[in-house]
Symmetry: C2
Subunit: 398 residues, 2 copies
């Protein structure tokens, strides 16, 4: 196979990953702090470059997503330096044989991150990979090119050569990278469902997917209704554009007459089934609504006859991301927690609680909707794998 | 999407997986023992069917691979019933928030196994999936069809409906199943590298891969040479057709003059580099040899100038499966164990030690060459995932 610019770049990452594999925690942290310091030092240059990307004729939300806050980024790199090193931890196993056996945490190797818009991802994803001993190939969006390049230039020389590389270029370059399964170990696409599906379809490299969250709150017959209202409000309204925001509320029919009308106080657009619409004026929900992730101040409302109906509905339409039950009935809560097949299930808590920070994972790398390798909120440990280490005394197989 | 026979079969598996998810350990074990008893009861019918598959005009090795030993299978199902249940274990996490957080082991859901020849895989893979709470779709080879069908008929009614299903049919059916990523959670192909690559290329479902083992034994300058010889012999000859058998020996030049001539005693075909061939008459090794998995009584021999050269060679040509160092030098051993990026690394032990049974995993589900989810020897736990369970008191996100 003839080397190409992309395969050469991936080869450089692979070579860098060999020394990163055994780089000490101290050396990694020194590099992270140097990256932060260099960004602060070049703040003006970076902000000037950022001004080029944020063109005057852009719509305000897009312009906002492209804005870079150098101090905030530098602080987050400082914070990553303070996190425990996910590499090197050993789990001692005691098999029957006469040898020592350990399962040791090691880096994955080379990680390709593909993302859009927000340029803070460039230094932050690079830092998370470095901390976990992985070489990073970062494919940012062309709309943030000047900012990304200015930040990479600012950080030059602060980390081992090849450890963090930025890729510019378009679809052809991405396609080529996604075929290099001998050199790259994992792809993490961050962005809309379309981007993630396109990457997953094309990639020969394993992909960690962050698909949609069509999250539910089920208000059971025995729910304390004030608590239920607060949980629905927080799940829906606290930050509606996030993947763990609730999109649907299912209300048991025994409390529907009292609870459904209170949903008017949320001040969001409601879309209900027939039973809900008899109790409060709202738009009718279509079949498509039940599967939809609004990421907006919109809430689907359905009245159900039983816990079973609620679980069946979530099984049929949910996205296996995050689902909650509000109830005072421990038996019902346990059935819900056991039978709903989602990455995070909650009892009497807001869906917004499903978060790497609140779960004590340190840095939030994302929320995986896969079942393999990492499920739900991901921390630095999920950017590592393990190896089996045997120390013998001439042991043979009989 | 219009239902097809394959999508209906996968839907049945998905439905069955919902009840398997919460099936008690006791009920699973009762089913496993009933499966074993039914196989014993229908032993004659199964052996007659097996006779149909093992046609008189077949080559002896193929006929041998197709032979079914009903008692041995029944015993292995009894043994699976005795293993600990991989489902339900809880890891309690203590985040800062005021809620309880657990990471609970749960089944993956629906597992598709694709395999060739050996018909014992049908009941055994079905039993491993059942024990781990997963519904199994088993695609066996057409050459074992009568045997597989007779065993499935014998076991009918012993396990929950839809929990274990056998698929006959060919490439079209496999292709269709590999597209059903909404219904199937994991594919495990067992067989030659060609089969696995074809499945991985085509599948939209995550694939757990068991690729080749091009395993090395490196004999260091400070190796105790009698131990080194025994380890090379055991790694190469104890069962040469397995993936953790050694295919190459790398010998430090300081001990090459003494050690390489002893390799003649192995009685295997040797293929050496120039330096090795100066010390013992053997065929020359080509560039292809260094990457080859022989699965036979053939051994590549290379003389290296240093530990670094050995590690570089393994990095370049190895398959990241299983590699061993023989040395009395702890520093060199530790460098090898840290720097060789393989699923299993061994110091002073045979590569054949890399085994689920010897590692205390109970059943051997396979040896994964993936880095994600499961690496190296896999047990029942690797057929599960986890879910995050939050028990709150009305907790909200601030």
């Amino acid at each position: 196979m003839k080397p190409t610019p992309m395969s050469e770049l991936a080869r450089r990452a692979r070579d860098a990953s060999r020394s990163l594999r055994t780089l000490s925690t101290r050396d990694k942290n020194v590099a992270l702090l140097a990256m932060a310091a260099s960004l602060r030092e070049h703040r003006q240059t970076i902000e000037t470059a950022n001004g080029h990307d944020r063109r005057a004729d852009m719509p305000a939300p897009k312009k906002d997503r492209l804005r870079v806050d150098v101090n905030a980024i530098a602080e987050s790199l400082d914070a990553i330096a303070k996190l425990p090193d996910p590499v090197g931890g050993c789990e001692v196993r005691k098999p029957e044989g006469e040898f020592e056996l350990k399962r040791k945490r090691v880096p994955l190797g080379v990680i390709l991150m593909i993302f859009e818009s927000r340029p803070n991802v460039t230094p932050e994803a690079g830092a998370l990979c470095l901390k976990s001993g992985n070489a990073a190939i970062l494919k940012g969006g062309s709309e943030a090119r000047h900012t990304n390049e200015a930040m990479m230039r600012a950080m030059e020389g602060t980390f081992p050569a090849g450890a963090i590389q930025l890729v510019s270029g378009g679809h052809d370059e991405i396609s080529e990278l996604l075929g290099l399964d001998e050199l790259i170990d994992l792809v993490i696409p961050r962005g809309g469902e379309g981007l993630i599906r396109a990457v997953a379809e094309q990639s020969r490299i394993p992909v960690l997917k962050h698909y949609r969250g069509n999250c539910h709150v089920y208000v059971d017959a025995n729910a304390e209704l004030d608590m239920a209202y607060r949980i629905v409000e927080n799940s829906k309204c606290q930050r509606p554009a996030t993947c763990n925001a609730a999109e649907k509320v299912l209300v048991h029919r025994d409390v529907a007459r009292e609870f459904v009308p209170r949903l008017a106080e949320l001040g969001v657009e409601l879309r209900g089934d027939e039973a809900a619409r008899k109790l409060l004026e709202m738009k009718p929900a279509t079949e498509e609504d039940w599967a939809e992730e609004y990421l907006d101040l919109v809430l689907g409302v359905k009245v159900v006859g039983s816990l079973d109906e609620a679980i069946d509905h979530i099984e049929q339409y949910g996205s296996h991301h995050t689902d909650a039950i509000v109830t005072a009935d421990k038996t019902n809560a346990e059935r819900f927690l056991d039978e709903v097949d989602s990455a995070t299930v909650l009892w009497n808590a807001s869906t917004r609680i499903a978060d790497g920070g609140l779960f004590g994972l340190g840095a939030e790398v994302g929320i995986s909707t896969d079942k393999l390798h990492a499920r739900g909120p991901m921390g630095l440990e999920e950017l590592t794998t393990y190896k089996w280490v045997v120390e013998g005394r001439g042991n043979l197989r009989e």
